[in-house]
């Protein structure tokens, strides 16, 4: 019974595919998975937009949207209708082909990465041997589409936003990948399914997730900071800074293309959160051994929603960074931390199990953190501002 509940979608897929002739079964199976991914994550996008607006509202002591449907839950539908019925304006001087392709490429890339993301036991579209590599390679298409959008609009603010986005994304891609390499080192595989299997065991009731090791914890924090920057979310939302460059690379987009950018952005956030879950939080594994009877895909989506909640929380808390702060943080803090973390992960592998290993690795994480943090804060003392003439 538990087994059936866990595998219900896999069984359903086999059952439906069983009706087709043998020659086209593989393509039907792939189609089934693709439709499931499109539906599940597209739906999650709709849910997240309303949850985000509600959550941000509550953080700011407001109610948030509550007019469309009970408690405003039909707001995404109203938004979709609005964006579909709006006029699609293309600037006269724009490179029309690229201008059209940019949102398409973004959404395409954002959806492609879900191919290697296991959302449950036996529930992955393609179990690639180089799954993580595929994820980051296809994930980089986002940068391309952002620059396509910024460049083809023939608008200075767009271009400025796109250039900001490129410099930010490239800067943060380095610590993002370096922090996930620690997991690849520990698991000895690039396959997402194999990485989750490595984290499947339990000690007592606690799982063997990589986040519960010193290097894994540091790696997870670094990964999530870099992921925030990669998905252009607050406080790293400089590319679309409304107050500075009036929405950056998607100024010249309206109507449904604008909605596609929105969709792509959120899909990127879900995908990178899903990758963080896969690498550090045991994928679809249950967090406590006695909860293993809950279907695996439920655990995956529970973890994903928790990550989204953290993203929303952080967005409601932190103000936008300045460009120099952003790049200083990437190159002077994130990169050294990620490199040291690589060494820590190696030490963890070679040191014998026991208290000494924990002590050494925790020191390897904490000491650089404190020192680098102090270095980063140097000369950043806030003083009372003195006005020359206003006094």
């Amino acid at each position: 019974m538990i087994e059936t509940a866990d595998q219900i979608f896999v069984i359903l897929q086999h059952w439906i595919v069983g009706f087709a002739p043998a020659g086209v079964r593989w393509i039907l199976a792939a189609l089934f998975s693709v439709i499931a991914i499109l539906g599940a994550f597209g739906g999650l996008f709709a849910v997240t937009t309303i949850l985000e607006r509600k959550g941000l509202g509550r953080i700011q002591n407001r109610l948030g949207p509550n007019r469309v449907g009970p408690f405003g839950i039909l707001q995404p539908i109203a938004d979709a209708v609005k964006s579909l019925t709006k006029e699609d304006v293309v600037p006269y001087a724009a490179d029309k082909v690229v201008h059209f392709l940019a949102p398409v490429v973004l959404v395409l890339g954002a959806f492609s990465v879900y191919a290697v993301l296991p959302v449950g036991r036996n529930m992955v579209l393609a179990n690639l041997d180089a799954g993580v590599l595929f994820f980051f390679a296809v994930g980089s298409v986002m940068e391309l589409s952002v620059f396509m959008a910024g460049w083809s609009s023939r608008n200075k603010y767009s271009l400025l936003g796109a250039m900001r986005a490129i410099s930010q994304m490239i800067s943060y891609e380095v610590p993002l990948i370096l922090s996930s390499i620690t997991v690849i080192m520990a698991a000895g595989s690039l396959s997402t399914v194999a990485i989750i299997e490595k984290q499947a065991g339990y000690t007592g009731i606690l799982p063997h997730w990589y986040v519960f090791t010193p290097w894994g914890f540091a790696g997870f924090v670094l990964f999530m900071i870099a992921a925030t920057a990669e998905s252009n979310r607050s406080p790293f939302d400089l590319p679309e800074g409304e107050s500075e460059i009036i929405a950056g690379y998607y100024i010249e987009y309206s109507g449904f293309k604008f909605a596609l950018f929105f969709l792509g952005e959120y899909l990127g956030m879900f995908a990178i959160s899903g990758m963080g879950i896969t690498l550090f939080l045991g994928g679809w594994g249950a967090p406590l051994s006695f909860l293993a009877w809950v279907p695996s895909y439920l655990w995956f989506f529970a973890k994903l929603l928790a990550m989204i909640a953290v993203f929303i929380w952080i967005r409601g808390t932190l103000p936008r960074l300045r460009m120099d702060q952003l790049l200083n943080f990437a190159w002077k803090f994130m990169l050294p931390m990620a490199l040291i973390n690589l060494v820590t992960a190696g030490l963890w592998h070679f040191l014998p199990q026991g208290g000494l290993r924990w002590l050494v690795c925790i020191l390897m994480v904490v000491v650089p953190y404190v020192l680098l943090g102090r270095g980063l804060m140097q000369g950043q003392r806030l003083e009372k501002r003195v006005y020359q003439f206003a006094e």
Partner: protein, 239 residues
């Protein structure tokens, strides 16, 4: 240490998030169409015309003097004075505005019309939900749309309306007293005149030199009666 401020900030926003579910003080939103805050008494937006009594046409205080039309800075008031007169609330014949239009799309809510009106006839309303899909006709209000009862005025601006009512009552009482006094004086004068007319006939007892002096006061008394009656009629007109 690095990250301390971020942790503090996250704690604060978490407190806000959960606090907004438990504490009513945090969530200050008034959900407008369903919930409304009472309007402050000093609220004002566009002028309206006050009428007394049940019938707005009969009770309109406005006499069509056109002072507000002349004073209105953006010139949003248009008045046509009537040719005939009809009795006002006090029963005196007055002019009335045959046409009284206010274009509230032009009105700037300065309240100058209210300040210059000598008859307490125009006051500021507090009704603000005036949106319309016809921006020309829908925002040009005529007399029938502008007329609102004194009770309405008492409801939206109770303190101010009480003062106005008291002042009007006082003036009315004064006018009535004056009219009464005038009537009395006229009656007295008439009586006196009658007396004076009656008195010179019987006594011719005083010496002959006093006859012209006797006729002088009676002569002065006689014209005084019409004088007082005419002054009382002017008072009545003023009120």
């Amino acid at each position: 240490m690095l990250g301390e401020g971020i942790a503090k900030g996250l704690a604060e926003t978490a407190r806000n998030f959960f606090g907004s579910y438990v504490s009513k003080e945090r969530l200050t939103t008034v959900q407008f169409p369903e919930e409304r805050l009472p309007q402050p008494e000093a609220a004002r937006d566009f002028p309206f015309l006050v009428y007394d009594g049940p019938d707005w046409q009969a009770g309109l205080r406005c006499v069509g003097c056109q002072i507000c039309e002349k004073e209105c800075p953006p010139k949003c008031i248009y008045i046509e004075k009537s040719k005939d007169k009809k009795p006002d609330a006090l029963g005196k014949p007055q002019f009335y505005p045959a046409v009284f239009n206010i274009d509230i799309s032009v009105c700037m809510s300065c309240q100058i019309c209210v300040e210059v009106c000598p008859f307490e006839a125009i006051k500021m309303d507090t009704e603000f939900e005036l949106s319309t899909d016809d921006r020309f006709g829908g925002l040009l209000w005529d007399k029938s749309q502008l007329a609102k009862s004194n009770e309405h005025y008492n409801k939206i601006h109770p303190t101010e309306a009480a003062e106005v009512d008291a002042r009007l009552a006082e003036e009315k009482a004064k006018a009535e007293a004056k009219a009464k006094a005038a009537v009395q004086a006229a009656a007295q004068a008439a009586a006196k005149a009658a007396e004076a007319k009656a008195s010179p006939a019987p006594p011719s007892a005083p010496p002959s030199g006093s006859a012209p002096s006797d006729s002088a006061p009676s002569g002065s008394a006689a014209p005084s009666a019409p004088a007082t009656s005419s002054s009382s009629s002017t008072v009545a007109k003023n009120d």
